[in-house]
């Protein structure tokens, strides 16, 4: 079992993901430089948050062309687990590994704060350690998290359980006020049809230790570990 944390120039949550996997979950993990091409020996690849290539153009728009993404594509096609967090999610959208697109937050401002999430599908390999009734407290930190997808695709995604997390209030109600970025139907995280590529805007690696104020994100990593062990 081995995790890969991809490092693009401008990634800045790479060390945080690495820390949580290595020191909190005590699992083997390696950094993978964006120019590397062989990732076949990993079980799960994490695309971390940050501002890959500065994100001066459009978030994730340049990173999708970096050499390592040529390997992430076949890795995902073969069923390898891919987790994109924040900028990693944006890259997965740009790379076409997940449907939809990101727009700027409806406030037009960067937003960093704790939000509440409702796990909508706890039968994925990323979420099976959660209960459907749980309300998770996990922080967001992004300027472009306003998720959009065409209505017909959205319908299909809803039907197939591809919406994995939605923003909600402390009681678990999906409300307008609890949505930090204006995303469609309060979507915070989605999964592909095959169930092996997950993208989410909130940062589970910032909510994996009690000292930082929440451990609600850790079960994502624990779910992945369990799924790989199976």
């Amino acid at each position: 079992m081995k995790f890969a944390v991809v490092v693009f120039p401008g990634s800045n949550c790479d060390a945080d993901c690495f820390h949580v996997i290595k020191n909190v979950l005590k699992q083997p993990v390696e950094y993978v430089w964006h120019q590397e091409s062989d990732i076949s020996h990993f079980d799960c690849v994490i695309l971390p948050g940050g501002f890959s290539y500065g994100d001066y153009l459009r978030t994730g728009a340049i990173a999708r062309f970096s050499p390592v993404m040529n390997s992430v594509q076949p890795f995902a096609k073969k069923g390898g687990l891919v987790l994109g967090i924040c900028n990693g999610f944006q890259i997965l959208l740009e790379a076409g590994l997940l449907p939809g697109a990101m727009m700027r937050n409806s406030s037009l401002k960067f937003v960093c704060k704790y939000v509440y999430l409702r796990p909508e599908n706890v039968k994925t390999r990323f979420t099976e350690q959660y209960q459907k009734t749980e309300v998770l407290k996990i922080p967001v930190a992004h300027g472009e998290g306003n998720y959009f997808v065409e209505p017909d695709v959205l319908k299909k995604m809803n039907a197939q359980g591809q919406i994995v997390f939605r923003y909600c209030d402390e009681q678990g109600e999906v409300t307008r006020d609890s949505n930090p970025n204006g995303s469609l139907e309060n979507i915070a995280g989605i999964i592909n049809e095959e169930g092996n590529v997950l993208g989410m805007m909130p940062h589970p690696e910032r909510a994996s230790e009690q000292i930082l104020g929440s451990e609600d994100g850790r079960k994502i990593f624990e779910s992945i570990i369990k799924a790989i062990m199976k």
Binding site: P9, D16, G54, K109, F110, V111, L212
Partner: protein, 743 residues
């Protein structure tokens, strides 16, 4: 020597130099300087780089202490030993004038500059704080400046991935056209990995890395050393543009390179005065010489002359002095990060800074003349006449029997209201270290690598300093240290950013002098060394000078995780104590200004010994594990402090203030310093009281945490009575609502 031209008085004064200073230059050179050389002296002898008006005063500050590894002024920032091979490096700097002219880029480049100061030392930057001051929030100009400054800071800090964990925001008329943007950065390093900014080793290659050089920011340092005028917007080319992605690459590449043994001899970033400052400073510190050829400097524009290249302040550039023979390794490391390192020159043993253009010498000056020989002035100082007038308090309106409405008003005043509109735009959690988030008395970080905890705070109340520069500054140092202490930390170092008016005006200079004396006295008492900082003078516009604003940044070390203490009420039934007494006087308070419309002193009494006693007592009580919460009284006084504890803890409290002889508004809203509201579990009451006696600390039990109402009674009257939720609403939304008014 080419382009020798006769210097006219006009050219000299346009360079911010006096005729006497020009004569001094001639003595060092033994001849007339050429135009480029005049430019070099102009920037290096500016206040911004040469501290010519403030250095004699700054020498009064205590810079030594047991933990000091690198003293203030020796390098780009001071370094402090935190034990177990680890050290911290931190500093605060201003970027006021650029932010006044171009708020987004001005603030962003300020963040970039202070980060470079830290990683240049070999330390990984892990935290930022921003201390901001604007005019009144109901002015459109303020909202426009604040929008730009906050988004500029967010743009840079968020992209580069360093959390902005704290700071402060004040609104006050005097900053209306001259906002203050003071930026603090802290980094950590293993002691053995610290890097010096020295050019040594005859023949060692000098590399230029990072962004190419453009015409932006030429004479920025000189610009920063002048008053803002109606025409300052014409200086916009003096403001540089920010590229945080480039700096992120520089941080990673440099820290990777520094770890490779024997590759790097010295490093210096190109901040104010760009290539000029970095070359002459490294040579001067190394007691060596340096020779570069501007033709080899990567440029982003054609036709740039040596003057423009040497004085450009284009951002995100570094000068790396490598070990001869390691050139390939240096180039390879930068290439990995997509950066090009250009060989621009080498170290010499001549003691001179020589600039060539295609091999031809275009400037040749002694390095130390630029760095160490800036003239130092002791300016005339005079106590401002206005002080008598503003320190006479008129008779106040009669007392009221209930002050709930006044408390609600104060909670919605921008200086007191929650700053979440600001800090939610900053990524304050990246790096997985932020234990206590913004909105507390101090930010608390854990250092995963070192297994340690740090508290840090930045503070200054400019109005206090306007009313009394000496005592106001004492109170700023005290509050900053107190905020660290009540969060569980023992202060280990202080950095300051001294924002004042034109030092050539005796009243301004007098206030600068008083402030520095106060920092000295407070730091000696609290045993905190000053590790460095910066001076920003000439903060004047046609409307007058800003309030004198010596911003403090204090960092403290927290012994163990369980010492981390926050301000929120924790449990029903906890006992509420006030340490430090009820205080006396309303002078200088937010209440006096915003509710009664009186902006006057005198400040309430302050005693350094009392403060020191209080801090030692609180820290001991925390380390014994006896305090459930701790929060000092500051703007808005005791009532606002209690409201903040209640709102953040989502709990009410019942308090009775058992004293007499004070006005109701005085006891509620007076800003008497050296006071902390703490809560203690009932079963620890006796232990706590005993400890207070041991420390001879003044404590009084005020009440108990519980319910949803905050009730404060005094002299038989219920002065405050409100649900905490009703207090929270105006407090949380005031700034957001204020910003919604059209810009």
């Amino acid at each position: 020597m080419s382009s020798l031209m006769m210097m006219t008085e006009d050219i000299i004064t346009q360079h911010g130099l006096t005729l006497e200073e020009y004569d001094r230059i001639k003595v060092f050179l033994g001849r007339e300087p050429n135009f480029l050389e005049l430019g070099l002296f102009s920037v290096m002898w500016s206040e911004h780089c040469g501290y010519k008006n403030s250095k004699l005063e700054l020498k009064k500050l205590p810079t030594t202490g047991s933990g000091i590894l690198i003293k203030a002024g020796e390098e780009n920032a001071g370094a402090i030993d935190i034990g177990d091979d680890w050290c911290i490096v931190f500093k605060m700097e201003s970027h006021n004038h650029p932010s006044a002219i171009e708020p987004f880029q001005g603030a962003a480049t300020g963040v970039g500059g202070i980060i470079r100061d830290i990683f240049t030392m070999g330390a990984r930057p892990i935290a930022l704080m921003d201390s901001l001051r604007f005019g009144r929030l109901d002015e459109a100009k303020t909202r426009s400046l604040m929008t730009g400054v906050v988004s500029g800071i967010a743009h840079y800090g968020n992209c580069i991935g360093i959390p902005t964990v704290g700071g402060e925001v004040y609104f006050e008329e005097s900053y209306s056209t001259n906002p203050l943007v003071n930026v603090f950065c802290l980094g950590i390093a293993r002691k053995k990995d610290l890097v010096k900014g020295k050019a040594v080793g005859m023949g060692n290659p000098v590399f230029y890395v990072g962004s190419s050089t453009g015409r932006d920011g030429i004479h920025g340092a000189t610009f920063a050393s002048d008053e803002l005028t109606e025409k300052s917007h014409e200086d916009r080319p003096s403001v540089q543009t920010a590229d945080p992605f480039m700096e992120k690459l520089l941080v990673e590449a440099c820290l990777e390179l520094f770890k490779k043994p024997g590759c790097v001899v010295g490093v210096q970033d190109m901040g104010a005065a760009g290539l000029t400052c970095s070359t002459c400073e490294t040579a001067s510190r190394g007691n060596s010489g340096i020779e570069i050829d501007v033709e080899l400097v990567p440029r982003r524009e054609t036709g740039m002359n040596p003057y423009e290249i040497m004085l450009s302040e284009s951002q995100e550039r570094m000068l790396v002095i490598a070990q001869k023979g390691k050139e390939d390794e240096v180039l390879k490391t930068f290439e990995k990060w997509g950066l090009h390192a250009a060989l621009v020159g080498h170290v010499t043993d001549t003691g001179r800074m020589v600039v060539k253009e295609k091999g031809k010498v275009v400037a040749d000056v002694p390095s130390k003349a630029l760095t160490d020989e800036a003239p130092l002035y002791k300016r005339p100082a005079k106590r401002p006449a206005y002080l008598d007038e503003v320190n006479r308090l008129p008779d106040l309106s009669p007392e009221k029997s209930n002050y709930t409405n006044e408390l609600l008003q104060l909670l919605s005043e921008p200086n007191i209201a929650s700053k979440q509109w600001v800090y939610e735009q900053y990524d304050h959690m990246v790096m997985d270290n932020t234990v206590v988030l913004p909105g507390s008395d101090a930010a608390v970080l854990r250092l995963k690598e070192a297994g340690k905890y740090l508290a840090m705070s930045s503070d200054c109340n400019g109005r206090y300093c306007y009313l009394d520069a000496y005592q106001g500054t004492l109170m700023a140092v005290a509050e900053c240290a107190r905020n660290v202490v009540i969060s569980g930390g023992r202060p280990v170092g202080l950095t300051d950013c001294l924002n004042f008016g034109n030092p050539l005006k005796p009243e301004s200079f007098w206030m600068l002098q008083k402030a520095i004396e106060a920092i000295r006295d407070a730091c000696l008492k609290f045993e905190i060394p000053v590790t460095g900082g910066n001076v920003s003078l000439y903060n004047e516009s046609p409307q007058g000078a800003i309030f004198p604003t010596p911003t403090m940044g204090v960092v403290g070390l927290i012994q163990k995780e369980s010492d981390i203490t926050t301000l929120s009420f924790k449990e029903e039934g906890d006992l509420i104590f006030l340490t430090g007494g009820f205080g006396k006087g309303l002078g200088g308070s937010e209440y006096l200004w915003r509710v009664l419309d009186i902006q006057k002193g005198p400040l309430p009494a302050f005693d350094l010994d009392e403060e020191w006693k209080l801090q030692k007592f609180i820290l001991k009580a925390i380390q014994k594990g006896w305090l459930q919460s701790a929060h000092d009284t500051s703007e808005g006084g005791l009532a606002v402090a209690l409201a903040e504890c209640a709102m953040q803890g989502k709990k009410g409290a019942l308090c009775e203030l058992k004293t007499s002889g004070l006005r109701g508004d005085e006891i509620l809203f007076g800003e008497s310093p050296s006071r902390v509201v703490v809560t203690v579990k009932p079963q620890l009451k006796d232990d706590f009281i005993k400890l207070a006696q041991d420390f001879d600390a003044n404590i009084v039990q005020m009440g108990m945490v519980g319910g949803t109402q905050l009730k404060i009674s005094y002299g038989g009257k219920l002065l405050i009575d409100s649900k905490w939720q009703e207090l929270e609403k105006p407090w949380r939304t005031a700034i957001e609502n204020g910003m919604k008014m059209s810009v």
